[in-house]
């Protein structure tokens, strides 16, 4: 019960972590557009919910908007040969204005509006208090399985090869650019879908809610890899979600016990980073303690 909130957040943001895993690990493309596509999903879903649309449909359309924005980053990076980091930044900046346009104002209140998480929790008649975490878990599990199945298709296999060895693909007559565009589209689709769910979960969409998405996403992927040491594709996907839960848990721990060891509210980011750092450094330190060279 103590860290139920962290589990809820970790699973909902886990969808975002899956998106970041796809761009960062599968495509080897550090994509900063997620700071814009995350609130894009929230904005689109938010405005649709306020117009009376079904919240699941709203989240799907939000994800679809992210899909298009991700494809844009892909086109900028491949067709126009703009360096990847810059392509992501450009999309992110454009989306800031676009998100304001979509919402018409910087903040939309969704308090008391229907939420797909609540809806799903009721549909499966989840035990009281655990509805959100179960619903978020279902969304995460279904998405993870779909992503895994996709990466095992011929197209998905080519995409994995694209991140590892694009020259090989070219020699086989496949255009790696198309695969990158598709991969970035799917990645940002997942991120925007996650943003749409977070808006419904938090009761509001705000143009500022994308700040730090990429940091949280990368931290989740890396923490997950360190904690679970995945050796297979499904392990890596599980690790991204697990890492997301661990990351949110780190924030909860910092909030809960930071004050007891003399930290003030303004030290939160430092404490969170230290908890993450501890997770990252643990394997090396453990090896050193055992007297092995790292």
């Amino acid at each position: 019960m103590l860290f139920l909130g962290a589990a809820e957040q970790g699973l909902i943001y886990g969808l975002m972590a899956l998106g970041v895993y796809l761009s960062f690990r599968v495509l080897s493309f550090p994509d900063l557009s997620v700071d814009g596509t995350f609130p894009l999903g929230a904005a689109v879903a938010g405005i649709l919910i306020l117009r009376g649309f079904n919240p699941f449909l709203a989240a799907l359309v939000g994800g679809g908007a992210g899909l298009m924005a991700g494809a844009l980053t892909g086109v900028l990076a491949t067709r126009l040969r703009i360096p990847g980091l810059l392509a992501g930044v450009l999309t992110m900046i454009m989306l800031y204005s676009l998100n304001l346009r979509i919402m018409g104002r910087p903040n939309l209140s969704l308090l008391g509006k229907p939420s797909v998480l609540n809806g799903l929790a009721q549909a499966i008649s989840a035990p009281r208090g655990y509805g959100t975490v179960l619903a978020a878990g279902i969304f995460c599990a279904v998405t993870a399985v779909l992503l895994l199945l996709f990466l095992h298709t011929e197209l998905g296999g080519a995409m994995r090869a694209c991140g590892q060895n694009p020259d090989l693909l070219k020699s086989l007559g496949t255009n790696p650019d198309n695969l990158r565009i598709l991969g970035l589209a799917i990645s940002n689709g997942l991120v925007a879908f996650s943003g749409a769910l977070v808006a419904q979960y938090s009761g509001f969409a705000d143009v500022g809610m994308g700040v730090g998405t990429i940091v949280a996403g990368l931290a989740s992927v890396i923490i997950g890899e360190l904690l679970l040491r995945p050796r297979s594709l499904w392990g890596a996907i599980l690790a991204a979600v697990g890492g997301s839960v661990a990351y949110r848990l780190a924030i909860s721990v910092a909030l809960r016990y930071g004050a007891a060891v003399g930290f003030t509210a303004s030290d939160l980011r430092l404490v969170t980073a230290l908890v993450v750092l501890a997770a990252l450094a643990a394997p090396t330190l453990r090896a050193a303690l055992r007297g092995e060279s790292p």
Partner: protein, 319 residues
């Protein structure tokens, strides 16, 4: 039986000594928001709620990360706080989302438009709005700046409080026959250029309670001095920094007002019986030092409108 009695006494003692736990959350560290928080604590202190004795505060700050605002709200709930004070709109929305199905009272503060934010209509939620009187500010400018036709405003379109006030400024300016030129600044780094873009285009500059402008205020002051443009800023604490006209209220006072609402709740009035209040008591300050510097003259009639003046580096408050 003896043991049972002993247990009852012990529990009774613990019960009596157990302080009220109040969680206070805000979205960022910001002088105005911190002043607001200090005002809340001061109001409670004056009423006999002393930290560490009969009240315990848990301070939390999301440092601008909205997901942390949500984590803070959940942490408060898990820790079993007796009351939550949420400062700013996003922090309040996160708190209300988490606490709306509980009967734990929530008191929001520094929320410009609580109705649009969706905070009204929950039986356990009430609070204080920091909505300023935009129309009164424009009317003041019309009286003080002769021949005012074109007015410039810098704001961050990503800040919900500021965007609301800019919409209201547009409406009021239209009604009063003022041409409003709005320049967006999406971050503190964009404020200098936004301010410079107003040079030669406006007769006065008016900025509302925009956090981005507040953080980069010196850039706007610099432009107002260079272009000799009268500048009205809706924050009375910025007068000494070189703003010509300051209106509005001190966020410490807003904190005191919020604290009064918290006290009502602590004394047993259910939040649903306390309507949310708007901050009253707007002040008007003129900076005569800056006026001299930019060659601006406050007419004797205009001076009567001021509740206080800054002159020779010193503040004089009218009684």
């Amino acid at each position: 039986m003896k043991k049972l009695l002993l247990a009852l006494v012990v529990f009774g003692l613990i019960g009596a000594a157990k302080p009220i736990v109040i969680g206070i959350t805000q979205i960022v560290d910001h002088p105005a928001l911190n002043a607001c928080r200090d005002g809340i604590i001061e109001a409670l202190r004056r009423a006999g709620y002393i930290e560490g004795q009969n009240v315990q505060f848990i301070f939390a700050n999301a440092q601008g990360d909205f997901s942390v605002a949500m984590a803070i709200a959940q942490d408060f709930l898990a820790r079993g706080v007796d009351l939550v004070v949420s400062i700013t709109t996003p922090s309040s929305q996160a708190v209300v989302q988490v606490f709306k199905d509980t009967n734990i009272p929530v008191v929001f503060s520094a929320v410009t438009d609580p109705v649009a934010a969706g905070l009204i209509g929950h039986p356990n939620v009430t609070g204080a709005s920091d909505m300023i009187d935009v129309r009164a500010d424009l009317e003041l400018l019309l009286k003080v700046v002769p021949g005012l036709k074109r007015l410039g405003q810098i704001y961050n379109p990503g800040e919900v409080n500021s965007a609301t006030l800019t919409e209201m400024t547009k409406k009021a300016a239209k009604e009063l026959g003022i041409e409003l030129i709005v320049v967006p600044a999406e971050g503190t780094a964009a404020v200098p250029l936004a301010a410079q873009s107003l040079l030669g285009r406006v007769d006065a500059i008016y900025c509302t309670t925009d956090n981005t402008v507040a953080a980069a205020l010196d850039a706007v002051i610099e432009v107002s001095k260079r272009g000799k443009i009268p500048f009205l800023f809706a924050d009375p604490t910025s007068l000494e920094r070189g703003v010509l006209i300051c209106t509005g209220f001190d966020y410490f006072d807003h904190g005191l007002l919020t604290g009064e609402i918290v006290l009502k709740v602590l004394r047993g009035t259910p939040p649903k019986d306390i309507p949310f209040v708007r901050q009253a008591g707007t002040k008007v300050f003129f900076n005569l030092d800056v006026a001299e510097e930019i060659g601006f003259v406050f007419s004797p009639e205009a001076k009567k409108l001021a509740t206080g003046l800054l002159f020779g580096g010193q503040r004089f408050i009218k009684e």
